[in-house]
């Protein structure tokens, strides 16, 4: 295959860059999964690097990578198959999370993806491997990806998993692609396991989030912010009343999810759940804004340029607890601070797995820890 072939494919699918993409970027938006396959095959043959683009909300994740072509999922937005009575749905990657959740609300169902998704797409959330606040109750996003269609770096359209809620047929590639950040190829379609949503939900304001975590029964989330803490619960009228009583807090109807902190620098610290309390102490001492998820061990934070200096120390501490500190957003001119920190001990295997799916190394090369 020649570069001319790649150029033809690019011309076929070319779209204007959307805000956030660099002006000069060559952007393609394949209309079908097969077209994406053809373009990736040609890019692999030509050695052209490709970055994938969903809603653009997580483009700050990972190492800064250079891409010859940006592949957008904006034309892959179909709802392929919703089996409401089986609690599963198959959607293409470019479907915005917000649209999906509005659709599911009709039947009181949810894919339990991040609660305030902005312009994020399903594929982007799966690729970034991020979960919403409700993971305390429903588990991480990863555990709800039943089937994946991955277009590998060299253009093979590969399906794995299946459209049933329990399955051990073949290797668990759906969970592997979750959080792969486009390093294996384009996540083009997924089947999601859905959860029924209780009719009533409430936010119970409490004094002490750590204590509330021990008392609350299966809450959706227990969140601590610099100036307030709350337990988020759902269930029957009776259950919510009982939980409010148990917690000794004040109940507000509905779920008032806080926005993730924003600032010049943003990051997420992840530690074993019981270390959340100490993490919050350290983050407060550093003067950062934060949302801490008790019981989970996830602390989202933000800083201006002056307080970002504390990131290094927080990272060392988090890593010493067996966790991590990932920088998710930083000033464009800063290429010095490693976004991931110490790479995982399985780097050799990670490299080999990447190569199994992307032999030419053109899919978001270098984005993962260790520059994989």
């Amino acid at each position: 295959m020649t570069d001319r072939h790649l150029d033809q494919l690019i011309d076929r699918d070319r779209v204007d860059p959307s805000p956030g993409m660099r002006e000069s970027a060559t952007v393609v938006a394949p209309a079908t999964i097969e077209s994406a396959g053809a373009t990736l095959a040609a890019a692999s043959a030509a050695g052209a690097t490709v970055r994938f683009w969903g809603g653009g909300t997580h483009q700050g994740y990972g190492h800064v990578t250079k891409a010859d072509v940006v592949m957008s999922t904006e034309r892959l937005t179909k709802v392929v198959d919703w089996q409401a009575d089986d609690l599963t749905i198959v959607v293409e990657a470019g479907l915005p999370v917000a649209e999906l959740e509005v659709l599911l609300e009709d039947r009181n169902q949810s894919a339990v993806l991040p609660e305030l998704p902005g312009s994020a797409t399903v594929g982007g959330v799966v690729a970034a491997g991020v979960s919403g606040y409700r993971r305390l109750r429903y588990g991480p996003t990863r555990d709800r990806i039943l089937e994946s269609v991955l277009v590998t770096g060299d253009g093979r359209v590969t399906t794995a998993g299946g459209r049933v809620v329990k399955n051990v047929t073949g290797y668990d590639i759906p969970r592997l692609v979750t959080g792969s950040l486009g390093s294996l190829g384009l996540i083009a379609q997924v089947c999601l396991k859905l959860w029924p949503m209780p009719k009533r939900a409430a936010t119970i304001v409490v004094e002490d989030a750590a204590a509330a975590t021990r008392v609350a029964y299966r809450p959706l989330a227990v969140l601590e912010l610099p100036d307030r803490s709350a337990v988020f619960v759902a269930g029957s009228e009776d259950e919510i009343a009982a939980q409010t009583r148990d917690l000794g807090g004040t109940e507000q109807e509905g779920l008032a999810w806080p926005e993730l902190p924003s600032g010049e620098w943003t990051g997420t610290m992840r530690v074993p759940p019981a270390s959340t309390l100490e993490a919050v102490g350290r983050v407060r001492a550093a003067g950062l804004t934060f949302v801490a998820a008790h019981g989970v061990g996830e602390i989202h934070l933000a800083a201006g340029s002056s307080s970002a200096a504390s990131f290094g120390e927080l990272r060392s501490w988090a890593e010493a607890q067996g966790g991590s500190f990932v920088v998710t957003g930083r000033p464009a001119d800063d290429g010095l601070f490693d976004p991931w920190g110490s790479p995982p001990p399985s780097l050799t295997l990670q490299r080999r797995v990447k190569a199994a799916f992307d032999p030419a190394g053109i899919a978001n090369p270098g984005i993962l820890p260790g520059g994989i």
């Binding site: 076929r12 089986d86 009181n108 049933v164 073949g170 668990d172 969970r175 995982p344």
Partner: protein, 474 residues
């Protein structure tokens, strides 16, 4: 020198088996196939596992990890003369961390022993395969085991935070970690369920689940199996995910009742066990909702257990099912497929039709809430042609499950048993992708060769072009 000499030097003679009579014990699991065993090693530490792997590699002998050998898909049965590394002696619960609700355990720890150890502390290990009193955590990781209570809690993979694994090169690597979302590719998720083809798991960090503050168990009896299946479909459709939803049909109920005398209604066509757990303020209402759905679906009897003793009695029959069958038939063949829960009723009808046509005796006990079917065929292998007839019916049953949009296996795994059916589910491109993933862990195919993927899955071996999808016209 020989493989056995090397193993004896590393482990001592008493933990290496090489006598043909001793090898017989390790040449099958709880399924039907047998395989050739070169030697058996019983390591007691990760370092000894490394020594076993290195010895086997030196002598060019493939390696098969083995737990309790209760697998039903032939996962632990070698396809060529292999070193069996049995991890049952690595059965120490190393560390329980109640603050973080986790425990580091050896792969040889028996599933139920772990829950028995932590229940007094207020926690249990949620995945509860029916074989839990004998199967190992390492084997559960190998197969991504499920169980009645995986409906609400998820299967094994949702309860494994990290594994320590010995690679095919004899290196020790830790995948995953105690904090959420460890950075990098999630190789832990791939190793869980990989049936010993990616490494030997030597330590496991499991999640512990708090014991539920309130539990209500219902036994619902029906004049038709369809009524029970309908209750399951309608419960899920109504947005209720109970802790467990298990169905037994009449032949199974009768077999169980003869065996344990738990007082099950033997005249009904089917029994549904529904368990609801949760906040005391919610459990009664949810149980009531299920009862209403059941009445609409034609249930003729509702029993409700409120205390532990009553609950244990209701579960006794379910948990004794396999023992009951083993007692009443010389041989049995147990299936494991999954169908969408909306197709349960029609699938059951078709399974009975197949059983009738082949004139085989089929009993059902299954994880209905997940759509996970376990038709069990009892037979006598000494009868002329019985085994062949059972296998032929089995294949039809699998095909029916696939036809309605289901999958080959929900929890027992692919192993040897369903390896050659993989091509009915996946395209050559899909299988090739799985083969490449496996090769990333084990390029020489030394770990449990011949499992999961059918021969010829690796197209790329033969210098073939990556099989491209139809390229749209320009």
């Amino acid at each position: 020198m020989s493989l056995v000499d090397d193993l004896v030097a590393a482990l001592g003679a008493d933990r290496v088996k090489a006598h043909p009579l001793e090898l017989r014990v390790y040449d099958k699991d709880a399924g039907v196939a047998r395989g050739p065993v070169a030697a058996v090693a019983l390591p007691e530490s990760t370092a000894e596992v490394v020594a076993c792997v290195k010895a086997a590699r030196t002598w060019g002998v493939p390696i098969v990890a083995r737990g309790a050998g209760t697998g039903l898909a032939g996962g632990a049965v070698p396809t060529e003369p292999a070193l069996i590394v049995a991890l049952t002696r690595m059965n120490t619960i190393h560390e329980v961390d109640l603050e973080n609700r986790t425990a580091w355990v050896g792969p040889g720890v028996i599933n139920l022993d772990l829950s028995a150890h932590t229940t007094p502390m207020g926690f249990h290990y949620a995945p509860d395969p029916s074989s839990q009193s004998v199967c190992t955590i390492g084997g559960n990781v190998g197969t991504n085991a499920g169980g009645p209570h995986c409906l609400a809690e998820g299967t094994t993979v949702a309860h494994i935070l990290a594994v320590e694994m010995v690679t095919v090169d004899g290196e020790i690597v830790e995948l995953g970690g105690p904090a959420p979302d460890p950075i990098g590719l999630d190789l832990r998720a791939v190793v869980v369920g990989s049936e010993g083809t990616m490494g030997l798991v030597t330590r496991v960090l499991v999640k512990l689940t708090p014991n539920a503050p309130d539990v209500r168990t219902l036994l619902l009896a029906y004049p038709t199996i369809e009524g029970a299946a309908e209750t399951v479909s309608q419960t899920i459709a109504a947005g209720i995910i109970p802790a467990a939803l298990e169905i037994m049909d009449r032949p199974m109920v009768q077999a169980v009742e003869n065996f344990v005398h738990a007082g099950y209604p033997t005249e009904s066509a089917a029994v549904l066990l529904a368990e609801v757990t949760g906040h005391p303020a919610a459990v009664t209402a949810e149980a009531g909702q299920i009862e209403r759905i059941a009445l609409q679906a034609g249930t003729t009897e509702v029993r409700s257990a409120v205390d532990a003793a009553e609950r244990d009695l209701l579960w006794l029959g379910r948990k004794s099912a396999f023992g009951a069958v083993a007692q009443s038939a010389p041989d049995y063949y147990l299936h494991d497929t999954v169908v969408p829960r909306t197709r349960l009723v029609e699938t059951m009808t078709r399974l009975y039709e197949i059983a009738d046509r082949f004139e085989i005796s089929m009993l059902n006990v299954f994880h209905a809430g997940d759509g996970n079917l376990h038709p069990l065929v009892a037979f006598d292998g000494r009868d002329e042609g019985a085994r062949e007839r059972v296998m032929e019916a089995a294949e039809e049953m699998v095909r029916v499950s696939l036809e309605v949009g289901g999958s080959l296996s929900g929890e027992h795994g692919i192993g040897l048993e369903k390896r050659d059916l993989m091509a009915d589910v996946f395209s050559p491109i899909d299988l090739d992708a799985q083969a490449r993933l496996r090769d990333a862990f084990d390029p020489d195919g030394a770990l449990n060769p011949g499992k999961i993927l059918p021969h010829g899955s690796r197209c790329y071996d033969f210098g073939m072009q990556p099989p491209l999808s139809q390229e749209p016209a320009l």
